[in-house]
Symmetry: C2
Subunit: 346 residues, 2 copies
DNA sequence: AAATTCCTCGCAACCGTTTGCGTAAATAAA
DNA sequence: TTTATTTACGCAAACGGTTGCGAGGAATTT
């Protein structure tokens, strides 16, 4: 049993062992030109031998660069986000970056704290999907002011903000879902929306309204709910909808959790889906495919979203790295496609 | 429109503005005693004013301490892990630590790389749930040898390894599920297991076997499958099981994805569940509750697991911080409870 | 009033890497 | 051979905080 003392190797150790200077070791590790081939391989051999790993803090401190990207997301358990995150992480990994994943739990306070923390660790960039209640985005200023690029996705700022924005086509999603229900003959369509403090729900609602308008139907206030999209809230909304006639003939829910709960409620009430009530959800959660009847929903193509985010991010990183263009940088808004998935519930 | 130049404030800036030394600023930020109350509040005011945030890299470099904990997990999209992670993150946050979440995607190579990366950033500790195929754990040595505590959970080392281990009671889970099926009168029980390179499947299988043995039933080789627990593989297994009589009268699957696919297959085949075939899954994935018929499964109490992990972690951090006890530290193995949830599928 | 203690704060070295500058040796050009 | 150029490497100063040591001043003791 060897008793290895817990030595943290530094380039000074390596230098001593090889009769070289720390500078040369550093140059080898950074693939600088102008180091002799033989020296390089000697160094690499020693690196392997002692299992040296560059201290990321020292490196980052000196070079003022990190290869860590921060991500802020409401919760990783949401299917859409889990998929996006996985894609981002895999893509970034291919380009030598690491990802720090943080959850805000839909708390504005936590989100604020996270931006500060990510700034403190001087991440190379930040990707963020905001809380439901983030209407003021000034806590991201500490990042943008210090030339740390920010990319918002999915839940993005409603007001103009100097950052790249990548969002699903929520307007179209809302429009497609509602139009689909209208085409099925529904005329008393209820809509369970998220709070209108959040970009995605603003857009989905606009799409919904547009579709209703095209059929000359009013968006009646007692058939629309603005609430956090939990199962409990969905149940409350359904109770109210079915508290007095005329009952709605369709429910469009702005996420699948609500749609699934609506379906559950309908089953309990003995309301036949899709005959007496048609339901459409949003996000294509895996549950929506396996429930009976299977749930019509909107596919958001999370993998595609993830790839788009990373592509833009890499552009930004190059841009920022090139020069400190004070605010001249372009902040594109990219809208990614969505698609209606027709299933049995409608 | 103010044009703030992108200044990264340092304690030197603050010191200059306040006619103090950087040392004093540092002491204020670290809550050292022996700083004058008035000075302290002046400094804090300035910190607030300019939005100063301590550079984590510089701090970590000098003090050789970080408040970042690394987490390696096969995939965040697995329900159990998503829940555990969320709990860990919330708990750690309360104690001033941050969590870096990394996915191995069940790739041993990625897992190895991640341990090196986490070592490079000198995290305070690492929490890991291994890939399906990790049987050699020497890539974690770089951490333990450098006094970075490691906690394994769920998928833990099979061989002895000097680290804290926190695992669900998989033996009991396998036993409970199988016994339940036996009590329902099943005698031709098929078992869809994960590969036996992975601790959890070893234990679940042992529990399964024990239950079978208590009923004097053999564990017939052509009713047991060792495979990655994907829907595709589950389907293949089901095809084989139903390729010739006698058909099994029950399927116990070591995760819910497989169990759900088994149910799906049975429906397609016109096999009535639970009348002709009973099915039990593992993990209490949300899908198992909403499918029809709802799926009997094993609850693992992920929140409880997460809390246990953090509790142990904090102990370890204190311990390591106190002194460099070379290997004298105790490495407890903690087994957390599981529970059978009876539903309609059995 | 002198001596002692305590409080408050500055000095400066250090953490591990990076990098501009300088220099010696090797090579190419004159 | 001399001069100019290139190559290979070392020196030393940063990067932003932390912390042991020591000094000056105020408060306390004798």
């Amino acid at each position: 049993m060897k008793k290895k003392p817990p030595i943290q190797h530094s380039i000074h150790d390596l230098a001593r062992r090889l009769n070289l200077s720390p500078a040369t070791i550093s140059r080898v590790l950074n693939n600088h030109p102008h180091v002799h081939k033989e020296t390089r391989s000697k160094v690499m051999a020693m690196v392997e031998k002692v299992g040296y790993r560059r201290n990321a803090m020292a490196s980052g401190l000196r070079s003022n660069k990190t290869n860590t990207v921060g991500l802020i997301v409401p919760r990783i358990s949401m299917f859409f986000h889990a998929e996006v995150i996985t894609t981002i992480q895999n893509e970034l990994h291919r380009h030598g970056y690491h990802l720090v994943i943080c959850q805000s739990n839909d708390s504005l306070e936590v989100e604020k704290e996270l931006t500060r923390t990510l700034y403190a660790s001087r991440v190379a960039a930040v990707i963020a999907s905001c809380t439901l209640f983030t209407t003021d985005f000034s806590h991201f200023d500490v990042l943008t002011e210090n030339n740390i690029p920010v990319i918002f996705y999915d839940r993005v700022p409603i007001k103009p903000y100097p950052a790249c924005i990548i969002k699903g086509d929520d307007y179209r999603g809302g429009y497609l879902a509602t139009t689909h229900l209208l085409e099925q003959g529904c005329r008393r369509i209820a809509y369970i929306s998220g709070p209108l403090t959040c970009s995605v729900y603003v857009d989905r609602f606009a799409g919904h309204r547009q579709a209703m308008q095209e059929y000359d139907l009013p968006v009646s206030n007692n058939r629309v709910f603005y609430q956090e999209l939990t199962a409990e809230n969905a149940r409350k909304a359904m109770k109210q909808l079915f508290s007095k006639k005329p009952y709605p003939d369709a429910v469009f829910a702005a996420n699948d959790v609500s749609a699934l709960e609506a379906l559950h409620f309908a089953k309990e009430m003995g309301v036949s889906v899709p005959d007496d009530l048609k339901i459409v959800g949003y996000s294509n959660d895996p549950r929506s495919a396996i429930i009976a009847p299977s749930m019509t929903t909107i596919e958001q193509f999370p993998t595609n979203t993830g790839k788009t985010i990373v592509a833009e991010l890499l552009k930004l990183l190059k841009e920022y790295h090139g020069q400190h263009t004070a605010g001249v940088a372009s902040y594109p808004t990219i809208v990614t496609a969505v698609e209606l998935i027709r299933r049995r519930s409608s």
